[in-house]
């Protein structure tokens, strides 16, 4: 592998090499490069293999990025539920990223449906290089749920982790009356993070002149506050010392000490396991 590193510039040229790995099945080496460079590298593989005296295979890959998670504005590779996301640009309006899911084979994250009402469909994370995804579906409609789905084109950013919370999401469930629940709130600090589900299914109307007066369904909690930018923050129930169950997400505040969440009751999802 060291020899490959030395030969690479001379034989392949200036193609960035993302990864070199031992390919056990092929009894050789596997190199990963940008998708657009695969064919160029393949043309040089016979020369490279002859110089190394080992079979070499080229596949498309992504550049290695070290796990960065310093703040909710700068947490990626992979991302975690509960980080801040911005609409339309890195300086746009703020919401919070909910759980990561797999839906029809597509990697997506959840957030509040009203976050996507009008305006740009593209979402950003301040600490990340580029767009993190585009809205692909929403249940935000009259008699619907305040939920939307955003695809994650870079699947390497998906995880089953919660920012500041338990290390792994192990399942999803529907909220139940009286259930203990916690939230990883994306923006507002200094408020209680855990409380109780008081109404597992409740209907409400958002108080916002810029949104339609639609009746929505969600779950109501008490003891958990939320503020501007927290829409989409993931609700979870703790399991043991490191696990958690996805219960939906907080979307709105009611009189400061209560919150309403878009539960996942409307839409069964496959919780990501990464």
């Amino acid at each position: 592998m060291e020899a490959l590193g030395g030969l690479w510039p001379r034989i392949v040229g200036d193609v960035p090499l993302f990864l070199v790995a031992v390919d056990v099945r092929a009894n050789g080496l596997r190199v990963e490069v940008a998708p657009e460079n695969v064919s160029r590298v393949e043309a040089a593989l016979p020369t490279l293999a002859q110089a190394l005296d080992v079979h070499v295979r080229a596949v498309a890959g992504e550049p290695y990025v070290a796990d960065v998670c310093q703040t909710r504005s700068n947490c990626h590779s992979p991302m975690r539920a509960g980080i801040l996301i911005r609409k339309g640009s890195k300086t746009g309006s703020i919401c919070s990223q909910g759980f990561h899911v797999v839906r029809n084979g597509d990697y997506q994250f959840l957030t509040a449906g009203h976050c996507g009402y009008s305006g740009s469909n593209t979402w950003y994370h301040t600490g990340y290089c580029c767009a993190i995804g585009s809205e692909t579906d929403t249940a935000f409609q009259h008699l619907g749920d305040d939920i939307m789905w955003v695809n994650m084109p870079n699947t390497g950013q998906a995880s089953d982790n919660i920012y500041g919370g338990p290390s792994d999401i192990i399942a999803f469930d529907f909220p139940r009356d009286g259930q203990a629940v916690c939230v990883s709130r994306g923006n507002t600090g200094g408020l209680p993070d855990c409380g109780t589900v008081t109404d597992a299914v409740v209907q409400y109307v958002l108080n916002d002149d810029n949104l339609p007066d639609w009746t929505l369904t969600g779950a109501r909690t008490t003891g958990i506050g939320a503020g501007g930018g927290d829409s989409g923050s993931p609700y979870y129930a703790k399991v043991g010392t490191s696990g958690a169950v996805d219960l939906g997400f907080t979307v709105v505040t009611v009189a400061g000490s209560q919150s309403l969440g878009g539960s996942t009751t409307c839409c069964q999802v496959e919780v990501g396991r990464w």
Binding site: S93, I94, C95, A112, N207, A255
Partner: protein, 145 residues
């Protein structure tokens, strides 16, 4: 996301307390270190910046930030995050000179018994002073919520 421009009350405490609405640009005297006064002018038109499609100015502030306005050494930009329910913010400005200013933003109360969509919009206001002013010499804080 379309966000309606909120009314912001601006209050300056110097030799005497004054207040004006952003829709009515004017000036407020603030005492300077020489015993005179420095006028605080509220910019007209673009006084309240709200992030939305095509909005300009507001930077990537996370909750509250005082920035130098681009290309203007006599103007600072106060930027903050607020939910649609926090529609009555108030800025309080105190100080004895342009080198010693305190700016407090009170986002105001969230009305009881409303279901507030917790999207966080970026709001901002440009404060233009008579002389040069630097964010480094301003103590800023945000209250409310």
């Amino acid at each position: 996301m379309r966000v309606s421009a909120a009314t912001i009350a601006l209050v300056a405490f110097g030799l005497s307390a004054c207040a004006l609405q952003i829709e009515e640009p004017g000036s407020i005297p603030i005492p300077n270190s020489e015993g005179g006064t420095a006028d605080l002018h509220i910019t007209d038109g673009s006084g309240l910046l709200v992030s939305a499609e095509g909005a300009t100015g507001a930077g990537a502030a996370e909750n509250f930030e005082i920035q130098q306005a681009p290309g203007a050494t006599n103007t600072v930009r106060v930027v903050w995050i607020a939910s649609p329910c926090e529609d009555s913010p108030q800025l309080t400005i105190e100080g004895t000179s342009l080198d010693d200013l305190d700016i407090t933003l009170d986002r105001g109360p969230v009305p009881d018994d409303v279901v507030c969509a917790d999207i966080g919009a970026v709001h901002g206001v440009d404060l233009m002073f008579e002389g040069d002013v630097s964010p480094e010499h301003i103590e800023g804080r945000m209250v409310g919520q």
